[in-house]
């Protein structure tokens, strides 16, 4: 499994939480450490399938300079 948003490989993903009902595992939430995307594996494909997501909604963590700062950090980094 890769990140649905930036396509980063499994090693960059973190398992956040598993929704359980008794012994049953209902779904799992994942987090991409590279692009910060969070998702649940039970969501519709439009949200969690890289191929189905519109290009505008993809992320490019290789080029962080593409993204503006809301409030630039005071230390300039």
């Amino acid at each position: 499994m890769n990140c649905p948003r930036c396509n980063s490989a499994q090693e960059h993903l973190r398992t956040e939480y598993q929704g359980r009902e008794g012994d049953e595992l209902v779904w799992t939430v994942f987090y991409c450490r590279r692009c910060s995307f969070t998702w649940r594996d039970s969501e519709p494909a439009e949200s969690i399938d890289y191929a189905e997501r519109e290009a505008w909604f993809r992320a490019d963590p290789d080029h962080p300079e593409k993204y503006k700062h809301n409030i630039p950090p005071a230390d300039g980094n």
Binding site: E16, S36, T38, R40, F57, A59, N70, A74
Partner: protein
Amino acid sequence: MDMETVTLSAEARAVAERIRNLRDYLELLAEHGQCITWPETVLPEPDIRKVVVAAGRDAMAGPAIVFDNIRGYPGKRLVIGVHGSFSNIALLLGKPKGTSIKELFYELAGRWGSDKPLINRVKPDDAPVHENRVEADINLYDMLPLYRINALDGGFYIAKANIVSRDPRDPDNFAKQNVGIYRIQVQGPDKFTLLSVPSHDMAQQIRMAEQDDVPLKIAVMLGNHPAMAMFAATPVNYDESEFAYASQMMGSPIDLTQSGNGLDVLAGAEMVIEAELLNNKRCLEGPFGEFPGSYSGIRHVPLFRVTAVSHRTDPIFESIYIGKGWTEHDTLIGLSTCAPIYAQLKENFPEVVAVNALYQHGLTGIISVKNRFAGFAKSVAMRALGTPHGLMYLKNLIMVDDDVDPFDLNQVMWALSTRTRASDIIVIPNMPMVIIDPAAEIPGKGHRLIIDATSFMPPDPIGGDAKIVSPPTGPEIDDLAKYILRLQKEAEGR
């Protein structure tokens, strides 16, 4: 104007005294059919989104919806749409369901007054919010039924929290304590980003903390007294307290206690998340389906670490649907956006009659004013642009005469049709704008529009036939309209 407390009707007084927290309000709403519990099991996505969008279609009368059967979140409760209709707002103000928006506006404007806090201090040991306390192994996913609000949001948002912070350079000043609604994206079990408009109080405090390299501690209040949710988003001046405003507007004391990290918080909140800014740390945030009805982009946004969580037993997670309007965002903050602009304009221009800034947090505003001379309304419009909220938000302003009800769009269209000359349209280029306004030239900068749809006044040459028909207006006609509605309902019931 300075007064001890606002003057309330007997009905409003009874509601103000009864409602001390979210649970009290949900009970009141349920008694009037304005809060329902969803009868079926839902998946976090996409079921919750579908249900609340359907409920939100009716801006006048849609109910709040409680979800207590969410797959994978056994025992957890979520409520959406608490402020999702003007009928819900009416009940909070002690008015009947179906009260007109204009009547609600005057009710709120009438309550606008002094900044004298009506605060009831509750010892932390006695505060319901501290019934349960988590200081280790904090996991927000385990505490809240988090879900994706719009299908292409970048993550799971806490979108209806009231966030308390203090001026890091003047931390003991109660009045400089800020309470605002800022979107929060969960970035891990004990981390989140918080997005604030650069001109807002919170952004100023983040800058100060990082420049001075001092801590910025915040408290995220979830599931709050319904007045707090309405007025935390109110654009008051920097040294005015939102707690004071909320209590004044309700006309009854707000119960405050201390959070573990030393901030004033609502004693009856469902949950308080205590956190601190990780100075100079940023994390990618967004997109998020925002109130203009479009997704904001991805940005580097300040990151916070959760230090402790207090919560009531079986807390209710209060959330909101935001997207293409109308949504709960509009009904939640619409009237509390109108009232301060009205009050601030009145200080200079008592001729202002009403302000309708309901649309997308005031991106479009309609102001009715008693016109004094040619061009007068344009000067009032310029003053509106200089109010705290107008500075960033009031993008399109339509000025109408005092004989036009700005909340009745048919009347506004009449004024536009009959009183607007093309030369009465002013575009002010390259002005500050809300960064998430999709109509900006570049995010944060764009053009403002003023349409003067007021009547011609001397020394304007007045059109020869501009003698206006004066149909009867006023309370008598309003009452007759209500009477006709009742007769119609009775006829339907036969």
